[in-house]
């Protein structure tokens, strides 16, 4: 019977449009969660996938010797695809020319991700037996020979490579690449015991497989073997990906919070509508159980419909967005299960937890209300409402983001907003005392209205303000993140690196760059050295540490050291002062933290088997993402005097550049000229990589805009829900005022003022909370620079006043135009 009644009420109320708001609110919550989850997963997969192309796989094991075969067996058992490659340096000969090259000998399945781009186009094949594909600058260096000799084999120079999927970004791997088949290596006879070779084992698979593989295999690796994934290290891609992921999470989280606010308000309204029905049902003898069943079922039907529409909407959203994404991203299709489960969970949790308190009040409505209309149910227990709402938000937040920092930031922002509103509500009631219904001045009438509805206004403010807070937060973060990325990747980010610059070439190179109007970074000397002691304590390797050797863990590899008199651009001293004397060194903050260094510590380096002692004089931060030459350790020139060094520099070159004589030269031709003039300098083209980074940023920007649009939609819904909630009392008041002769102009102005004041207060509160939320987010989550958004302190209240007034007037337009009789009748 209860089921029938619940269904009947649901059907009728739905067809009469009374459930639109709550269904819409639930729909929006589910839609934003399922849709954004899918979109963001797709983008994340795409971003990770695109980024994975830089290593041409998902994971790499980098080893100087062949790895234990069981590792490959494990990979196969788990279902990972893998390929074994080998990389080593060797001299190749072409007629009378010779050149040091990096031989990249690849297995059949290479590349696991991405494609090899030849000058003639993309290819999915590999060179044939005894064929070599060469990086385009090698062609230039060797005068485009038909063959090159490598050990005992003469390779056909079959095709010119414009980009390799794992072209890599290590300015110190300076030789041009020659790509051959792994099977050909043995024929060359080059690799002898003791030869310096790097084995690159590349793996690809789904995230679960990769995690399983990582858990099993990582402990088996020794100190000389490196585990590489897209996100390891301080690569610009990794940091862009991480931030983008977090932003998407946060934005969706805020979207959920907002939709929850809408659900909360709609639920309250939904319950208020049913007060009389419950009183009536109780009067006619409905038992508590019957009432509970009826309304739980009713709410379940409402929620079910909301969830269903939300899921459909989410899929449509995903489908629509996909249309705008580049084909290679659209092609990624993560499973539907997680977005659907998340959507359903969001719908159920938000609908029931946010409705719990209003529902409790509804169920406790006394039957006597049929005779005494002013009676309401349960008055106490607001704490319960607060607790349930916050738990719902935290639960959903954590469920969605799996990040405690993000969840706590959102929850604490909500708490702050609640606190501010309570204070404000109290102040409003106090100040408003004595303001009556003076019907001459619209502003006074508006103030009186605000005070009379203080309680209701506090609820409305929650909605207005949360919508604004979220909007401001998202807007600011989006802008900050984009700025940050743009800053890291300015239009003229270096796209060419010059390494192996001999000291005697420094001056002529400078002249060459100048004569071609190329603005390069400073030229940085590079010396390789190993850190051996800190404060005379011998450092141990990580392996030794693992095996139980006591001591301080150092860096297992050689570092690139530089020397100069001044602090390089993009570096910032955080502690101490930049080197003043010759025995001082400036250390990058990440390394300092890892090694536990502080100012005054003595570091001993071993360079060319000589010891160099220096004192840590400063610690500095470095923007690794800038694609500029960056160094862990910077010495004074005298400290490293006498050691052999080469230098490096980077510069930006447009596709077309103007040479000094006025004729246009392509970038390629110019680089070729440079190579011919300075044959010992290696030029590394990172243009392609910069292009890809930019593409990633574009994708992220797109997703940010989409999220912004959704948040806007949610905000609008909350605002509509707000005004809807106050309609009934407003209508009664208008009727009374009209009856007593208030003019249409007065009522319209008073209503407009009232909404505008409410909007202005909401805007003001929103700025406070948004600044707080941004502070938390920037310091705890995004590692961005914190600053105040002063213009907002004016814009937000003004915009709040305008938007809320317009929306409120629009919602009230019918009431304001109705005649007195119609108002009284409807009221």
């Amino acid at each position: 019977m209860s089921w029938q009644l619940a269904w009947r009420l649901f059907k009728r109320e739905l067809s009469q449009g009374q459930l639109i708001l709550i269904v819409l609110a639930i729909t929006l919550a589910v839609l934003s969660v399922s849709g954004l989850a899918r979109v963001s997963e797709r983008l994340q997969v795409a971003i990770n996938g695109e980024a994975a192309n830089f290593i041409a796989a998902d994971r790499i094991i980098n080893s100087p010797v062949a790895i234990a075969p069981e590792i490959l067996t494990i990979a196969e058992d788990i279902g990972l695809k893998h390929v074994t490659n080998m990389q080593f340096n060797s001299m190749v000969y072409a007629d009378d020319n010779f050149q040091l090259v990096t031989i990249k000998a690849v297995g059949e399945a290479y590349p696991l991700k991405g494609v090899i781009e030849l000058n003639s186009g993309e290819t999915s094949s590999l060179p044939s037996k005894h064929q070599a594909w060469y990086e385009n600058r090698l062609g230039g260096l060797l005068n485009y020979p038909k063959h090159v000799e490598l050990g005992d084999v003469k390779f056909d120079m079959a095709a010119e490579i414009s980009r390799l999927p794992d072209g890599g970004f290590n300015p110190f791997a300076s030789s041009p690449v020659l790509l051959i088949r792994l099977a050909d290596v043995a024929d060359t006879g080059i690799i002898q015991p003791g030869s310096r070779v790097t084995y690159l084992y590349q793996f690809t698979g789904n995230p679960q497989q990769l995690t399983q593989f990582e858990t099993q295999v990582k402990p088996m690796l020794n100190n000389s073997q490196r585990w590489v994934d897209v996100q390891s290290g301080d690569s610009p891609i990794a940091s862009a990906v991480k931030r983008a992921e977090r932003f998407l999470l946060l934005a969706s989280l805020l979207g959920i919070a907002l939709a929850c606010a809408a659900i909360g308000i709609a639920a309250q309204r939904y319950c208020q509508r049913h007060y009389d029905v419950v009183a009536m049902l109780k009067t006619f003898g409905a038992s508590g159980k019957q009432i509970r069943q009826i309304f739980t079922l009713h709410l379940l039907l409402v929620t079910g419909l909301g969830i269903l529409l939300g899921l459909i909407g989410g899929m449509l959203l995903d489908y629509a967005i996909n249309g705008f994404l580049p084909a290679e991203i659209a092609a990624y299709s993560p499973p539907y299960l997680r977005p659907i489960m998340l959507g359903v969970a969001t719908g159920l949790i938000s609908a029931f937890m946010f409705s719990a308190y209003p529902l409790l009040r509804l169920l406790s409505i006394p039957p006597l209300r049929v005779l005494q209309n002013q009676l309401e149910g349960l008055q106490v227990g607001m704490w319960l409402h607060l607790l349930l709402s916050l738990s719902a938000m935290a639960l959903l937040g954590y469920l969605y983001s799996q990040s405690i920092e993000l969840t706590m930031t959102v929850v604490s922002a909500v708490l702050l907003l609640g606190l501010l509103l309570s204070v404000l509500g109290f102040v409003m009631v106090r100040i408003g005392h004595g303001v009556g219904m003076k019907t001459t001045n619209p502003l006074q009438l508006a103030l009186a209205g605000l005070r009379r509805r203080a309680k209701q206004n506090a609820v409305q403010l929650v909605g207005f303000s949360s919508a604004l807070v979220l909007l401001l937060t998202i807007l600011a973060l989006r802008q900050d993140l984009l700025n940050e990325w743009q800053k890291q990747l300015p239009e003229n980010a270096p796209n060419y690196f010059l390494v192996n610059i001999a000291p005697e070439d420094t001056k002529p190179l400078d002249d060459f760059l100048d004569s071609n109007n190329i603005i390069a970074t400073d030229i940085y000397p590079v010396i390789r050295g190993r850190l051996t002691h800190i404060n005379d304590e011998k450092l141990i390797s990580r392996d030794q540490h693992k095996n139980g050797t006591q001591g301080r863990v150092g860096i297992s590899r050689e570092l690139n050291l530089t020397f100069r008199d001044t602090l390089p651009p993009n570096n910032e001293i955080t502690q101490g002062t930049f080197n003043q004397t010759d025995d001082e060194v400036s250390v990058e903050s990440g390394v300092a933290e890892r090694l536990g260094l502080s100012l005054g510590d003595t570091l001993t380096f071993s360079i060319d088997n000589q010891r160099v002692n220096v004192t840590v004089a400063s610690i500095r931060t470095v923007q690794w993402e800038t694609l500029q030459p960056n160094f862990f350790m910077i010495f004074r020139p005298k400290a490293l005097q006498g050691f052999a060094y080469t230098s490096m520099a980077s510069f930006h070159l447009d596709d077309e550049t103007l040479a000094i004589n006025g004729s246009k030269l392509t970038a390629n031709a110019l680089v070729l000229q440079l190579i011919q003039q300075f044959p010992t300098i290696s030029v590394i083209d990172v243009g392609a990589m910069v292009g890809q980074l930019r593409q990633i940023i574009d994708q992220v920007s797109l997703s940010l805009s989409l999220v912004l649009a959704l948040v806007l939609l949610a905000s609008a819904l909350v605002l509509i829900a707000q005004t809807e909630a106050g309609m009934a009392t407003r209508q009664r008041e208008l009727a009374v005022l009209r009856t007593f002769g208030a003019s249409g102009w007065l009522l319209r102005s008073a209503t407009g003022f009232e909404f505008a004041l409410l909007g202005a207060i909401a805007g003001f509160l929103a700025v406070i909370v948004a600044e707080f939320a941004l502070y938390m987010l920037k310091t705890q989550v995004f590692e961005l620079v914190v600053y105040m958004h002063w213009p907002w302190w004016a814009i937000s209240p003004l915009a709040g006043a305008f938007v809320v007034a317009v929306l409120g007037m629009w919602r009230c337009r019918q009431l304001l135009n109705q005649s007195c009789g119609a108002l009284l009748k409807a009221g």
């Binding site: 009728r12 009183a279 006619f284 508590g288 005779l371 005494q372």
Partner: protein, 253 residues
């Protein structure tokens, strides 16, 4: 006559009923030592000015509210020993209501509104019974109309049909014609008394309309929390005479 009244059982028996509420100004006595006895099938009007405590008394008699002290027996059941659930069960079985503001569920049709009490009571043929009741109040052609599509008089007829569908022992009516014009009010009153007579229901009617009160067998007047018998025209215990003397014929179809 007195023999007659002793033979007929009490539908409502109230002794020394008090109701006080706590207000900002202190304790306020709304009902003060009320005693009354309503026989089964009797019609009683409770008259009195606004704020005299009529509706409070009605709420207490109908087990919607709890007295501060005193005893109420409804159809032989002592209300003070019942909890809310038991009171609800008692109302479901024995009591029905008609309100001044009709109290129809505005999203349900006329038919569905009438079915409601029957469905709550688990009546199997609720729908046909409701259709029949609506026929009887002359709304057989308005089954699928929503309350807002009906006039005030029609809405109250739906409420009357709803009140009688479960054949209650006691019907409480709170200003049933208060929201209607005099013509409609009279029609509704005719219908109410006719159905009441037909189904031998005890009627407790709260009103300040003297004319309507006169149609009841007895009139009791509330004044500042005190209830006094003010029946003039008819003997207090002549159960059906009031209806028999009704000047208008009920419009029961």
């Amino acid at each position: 006559m007195s023999t007659n009244s002793e033979l007929i059982a009490s539908a409502i028996c109230v002794s020394n009923l008090n109701k006080t509420v706590v207000t900002q100004e202190g304790e306020l006595t709304i009902l003060n030592g009320i005693n009354m006895d309503v026989k089964q099938g009797e019609s009683v009007a409770i008259l009195g000015p606004s704020g005299s405590g009529k509706s409070t008394l009605l709420g207490l008699l109908a087990a919607l509210d709890t007295p501060t002290s005193g005893e109420i027996m409804l159809d032989g059941v002592e209300l003070s020993v019942l909890n809310e659930e038991q009171k609800a069960a008692l109302r479901k079985k024995k009591v029905s209501f008609i309100f001044q503001s009709f109290m129809l569920v505005d999203t349900l049709t006329a038919l569905e509104n009438v079915m409601l009490p029957a469905e709550l009571a688990g009546v199997i043929d609720a729908k046909s019974k409701a259709e029949n009741m609506l026929e009887r109040v002359g709304l057989g052609h308005r089954l699928t109309h929503l309350p807002k599509q009906l006039s005030g008089g029609e809405q109250q007829r739906v409420a009357i049909a709803r009140a009688f569908i479960c054949e209650p022992k006691v019907l409480f009516a709170d200003e049933p014609t208060g929201n209607l014009d005099s013509v409609n009010g009279e029609k509704i009153a005719d219908m109410l008394f006719a159905l009441n007579q037909e189904s031998d229901t005890t009627l407790v009617l709260v009103t300040h309309d003297l004319q309507l009160a006169q149609r009841c067998a007895r009139q009791l007047t509330m004044e500042v929390g005190h209830l006094t018998e003010t029946t003039k025209s008819l003997p207090a215990n002549d159960v059906h005479s009031a209806v028999e003397q009704t000047p208008h014929k009920a419009e029961v179809v």
